[in-house]
Structure formats: structure tokens, C-alpha cells
């Protein structure tokens, strides 16, 4: 059985640091490179920001669940919210050439993670599965 860590925070931007500290420490203990650990932390943080901004429309008193599974070859992070159901087809960053403020989060998440899987067949809210494999050195 993989080791699991679970965090529940309110949808309040000041608590995202807790998620980052956790992901970054877990990645470090798993043997990810510093670069990968930073990138995975960024991706999970961006995904949580999107939940706050888009699923919860900025409300800060809603629930975000972060489930981390540690496998020998990968980290899996499942993010759950209980907000507005997303139309998965609309989840798309701006064109990168069209430089303007915002619209980069989903691009960063997809650039960094090996698997990015939005689902919302469950009763309420959305689930986002993020997976990153450990790169063997050399």
C-alpha cells in the first residue's frame, strides 16, 4: 500500500503555503530532484489557486482536500473541491504568445506534471488528479 498524506484547508489563499510546504517536503523525502520538487509544488499550488478562483469564485470558507499518495516511482496528488462543476473543455490557458496578465496556471500544471486528469462525475464538485514520475538520474 502506498503511503498517504491528507490535508484539508479552507479555500483561503493564505493557507496555500501549507500545501506547498507539504508537497515540497514529500517530494524531497521521495528523492525528486530539487527542480522537479519545485515544479510539482508549483503545479499543485496553481491547481489549488484555480479551485479558489474558479470552482469557489473566490469564496474563502469552502473546503479543499489534498490527497497525496507516495508510490515508489511517482507521486500522485488528488485535489477535491465541492464547488461549481467545471466544464472540462473550458480548462485551458491563454495562447502563450498573447502576453497579458493571467491565464498561465493550467499551462504550468500541464508542462510540469506527467498526468493531469480533471474529473467531475462525482456527486458534488471536481477532482483533479496530478501524477509525476521520479526521473532516474543519469
Amino acid at each position: 500500500m502506498p503511503q498517504a498524506i491528507e490535508i484539508k484547508i479552507p479555500s483561503e489563499p493564505k493557507f496555500l503555503k501549507i500545501v506547498r510546504a507539504t508537497i515540497s517536503h514529500v517530494c524531497e523525502t521521495m528523492g525528486f530532484s530539487q527542480e522537479d520538487a519545485n515544479n510539482i509544488t508549483l503545479a499543485v499550488d496553481e491547481a489549488c489557486s484555480n479551485i479558489i478562483k474558479h470552482s469557489y469564485c473566490g469564496a474563502s470558507d469552502q473546503l479543499i482536500e489534498v490527497l497525496i499518495s507516495i508510490h515508489h516511482d511517482r507521486i500522485e496528488v488528488l485535489l477535491k473541491d465541492f464547488g461549481k462543476k467545471v466544464n472540462v473543455k473550458q480548462i485551458k490557458s491563454r495562447e502563450l504568445d498573447d502576453v497579458r496578465p493571467g491565464g498561465l496556471g493550467v499551462h504550468l500544471i500541464k508542462s510540469v506534471m506527467d498526468i493531469v486528469n480533471y474529473e467531475n462525475h462525482s456527486e458534488a464538485g471536481n477532482e483533479l488528479q496530478l501524477v509525476k514520475y521520479i526521473r532516474k538520474k543519469g
Binding site: N39, S49, I52, R100, L104, G105
Partner: protein
Amino acid sequence: MEIAVDKRQNCAILKIKGDVDLYSSPQARSQIIALVNNKQFNLLVDFTDVTYMDSSGVATLVEALQLTNKNKGKLRLYKLRQAIRDVFELSRLDKVFDIYEDEQSALHGI
């Protein structure tokens, strides 16, 4: 996050300290807009103590770039650690921003 602003020659140096994320970037944004509103169009941002930056930080800087450009000013960033350079590269914005090694080279010719 905290921002200390220091006036130097014809520019303002913003020394940012801490994490620039969804929580703190609105504060960074309003401090930058206040400077531009005060006709401070040359902005240097010292990243020495920036420990983290996400896309909301990048968005704030894109806005700052547009504001300074519109006013024929300059926005220059320096002393970025690798993790922060990576965010600019992943966003394909590393060529859009003027990024310098240190304060001295960032001040040069401004």
C-alpha cells in the same frame, strides 16, 4: 511577503521578500500601481529574497511591464533564483522580461 521601496536616481527599486502567491500578489500589484500613479515609470525589482513565485506573481509583473512600457519607462528584474527563472521559462516569458544578474547591471543605462 513584504516590499521595501527605495528611490535611486530616476527609478524605484522594489525589494520583495517572501512568497509571491495568490495571497500576496494583490498587495504587490497595488504597490506597483501606486508607484506608476506617482509617475514612477522606471521600476527595478530585486528578487534576492523572493522565496517563491506562482502565476499570479507573473501576472502582476506582466501588468507592471505593460504599465511601464505604456509610459515609456522600464521594468527590470534581477537576482532571480533558479526556481523563479524556471517559472518565467515555463511561461515562455523569459524573453519578454528584462532579466539581469545584479543591481549594478540592472541600473546600467537606465
